[in-house]
């Protein structure tokens, strides 16, 4: 049964993968089939997202039930989720009305505020990381990294417009940075092609674990 199940999963991955590839390349009838497969994948992925959220809530519910460390925070998390869902249901039932809708206010004022504050907090981590790099043993790579970092930061100052620093910054971004980024992106694309081919010819079967 185990071997049969493994063969079936491999057949599903390879078969549907090759059919989708054929549809995306050839179009026509196979293209329609490929689009259907992609739609089914999106819906299945959406179901997976809901399962993930149910699992998250289940884990926190278990933490509250067993009074494990940090269970108070779990109550806050569950209340926040239930609160949003309740607001949404009340809106749909036309019990809560108003423009903008309460869920929109909650999203724009609270969710976005917390997100922005967390993104702003990254500044401290980045600056601290850069300082730690400077404190480490001096190396050619570290020096080059710091030099580029400082030139680009100084070049971004409004005062630096049309000065040699701004020109150096523009050249750095247009030539070496662009070249490095293209090289890295091409490397990622090549690795994607190799890994994809390995999956489609059945060499990589990590989905059976």
């Amino acid at each position: 049964m185990g071997r049969l199940g493994s063969a079936l999963t491999s057949a599903v991955a390879i078969g549907f993968g090759l059919l989708t590839l054929l549809g995306l390349l050839a179009g026509g009838f196979f293209g329609t089939i490929a689009n259907l497969f992609i739609q089914i994948t999106v819906i299945t992925a959406a179901a997976a997202v809901l399962i993930g959220i149910a699992n998250l809530l289940g884990v926190h519910f278990g933490r509250i039930r067993e009074r494990r460390g940090g269970w108070g925070y779990s109550i806050i998390l569950l209340l926040s989720t239930i609160g949003v869902l309740l607001l949404y249901i009340l809106e749909r039932a036309n019990v809560l009305t108003g423009t903008p809708a309460p869920t929109t206010i909650l999203l724009e004022s609270v969710q976005v505020a917390i997100e922005s504050a967390l993104a702003g907090l990254v500044l401290f981590a980045l600056v601290y990381g850069a300082l730690r790099l400077l404190r480490r043993k001096v190396s050619a790579s570290g020096l080059l990294f710091t030099l580029v970092l400082l030139v680009l930061l100084a070049g971004a100052l409004p005062l630096a417009n049309a000065t040699p620093l701004a020109l150096i910054r523009d050249w750095l971004l247009a030539v070496p940075v662009s070249a490095g980024a293209r090289g890295i992106l091409l490397g990622i694309a090549l690795a994607t092609v190799v890994t994809g081919m390995r999956v489609l010819i059945g060499q990589d079967r990590s989905y059976r674990e």
């Binding site: 991955a13 993968g17 995306l24 089914i40 504050a117 980045l126 850069a130 970092l149 490095g180 091409l186």
Partner: protein, 214 residues
């Protein structure tokens, strides 16, 4: 006080709670983070159901125009989703492998076509044509791309003593590629600093505006 005003003040309080992390990990920061995760879970659920699942069910299972074929097609992803549910069980986890295999198979084909038509061909063509537009900078660009790719060249010859070594040409070009990679990483780091600085200053402006009533 209107709902919007309450929302703005709540945003103000949560921003301060998040920034309290500068003083060290504390209860206010943790509360704000757990609220954030809880709200995000709620919103993701709403968007997934409202924008993905319900339109699919309405368009297939509940559509009067859908025949038996439409209903079967409508049920398939829901069945696959149900199979994924088994992945949470150690005993029945294998049943979910079919759904995972389907997602990986289709996803691989999409990624393959996307990588070739969206990245490989356009970037290679753009790099090649850059030489025609500006000879010196175009040549440097092409050299940078080739040397960066060479830096990730891991093929090496095994020597009689068991150690491996890449050829001199690959090592030299790879060293040049390392230069381009470091410059790129420095630029990305400065971009991240500038972005977070912009967001941070916007948040500080928001806090000041709330306090001064602006």
């Amino acid at each position: 006080m209107s709902g919007e005003q309450i929302g703005l003040w709540a945003g103000f309080v949560f921003t301060l709670m998040i920034f309290s992390y500068v003083l060290g990990d504390n209860i206010l920061y943790r509360i704000a983070v757990y609220v954030f995760v809880g709200l995000a879970a709620g919103y993701i659920t709403i968007v997934t159901v409202e924008s993905v699942l319900l339109p699919w069910i309405r368009g297939t299972l509940l559509s009067p125009a859908a025949g038996i074929g439409g209903i079967v097609v409508g049920i398939i992803p829901l069945l696959l989703g149900l199979l994924l549910l088994f992945k949470t069980s150690p005993r029945l986890g294998r049943a979910g492998n079919i759904a995972i295999a389907f997602i990986i198979g289709v996803g691989t084909a999409v990624a393959l076509v996307g990588a070739v038509s969206g990245t490989l061909l356009p970037l290679a063509a753009a790099t090649g044509s850059a030489v025609r537009v500006d000879v010196i900078n175009g040549f440097l660009l092409a050299l940078g791309v080739i040397s960066t790719l060479t830096y990730f060249w891991y093929l090496a010859r095994r020597k009689p003593d068991g150690t491996t070594q890449r050829s001199l040409l690959i090592r030299t070009v790879g060293a040049l590629g390392q230069f381009f990679i470091i410059v790129t990483l420095g630029a990305l780091y400065s971009g991240a600093i500038l972005t977070s600085l912009t967001i941070f200053s916007e948040r500080i402006g928001f806090i000041v505006a709330r306090i001064t009533g602006g």
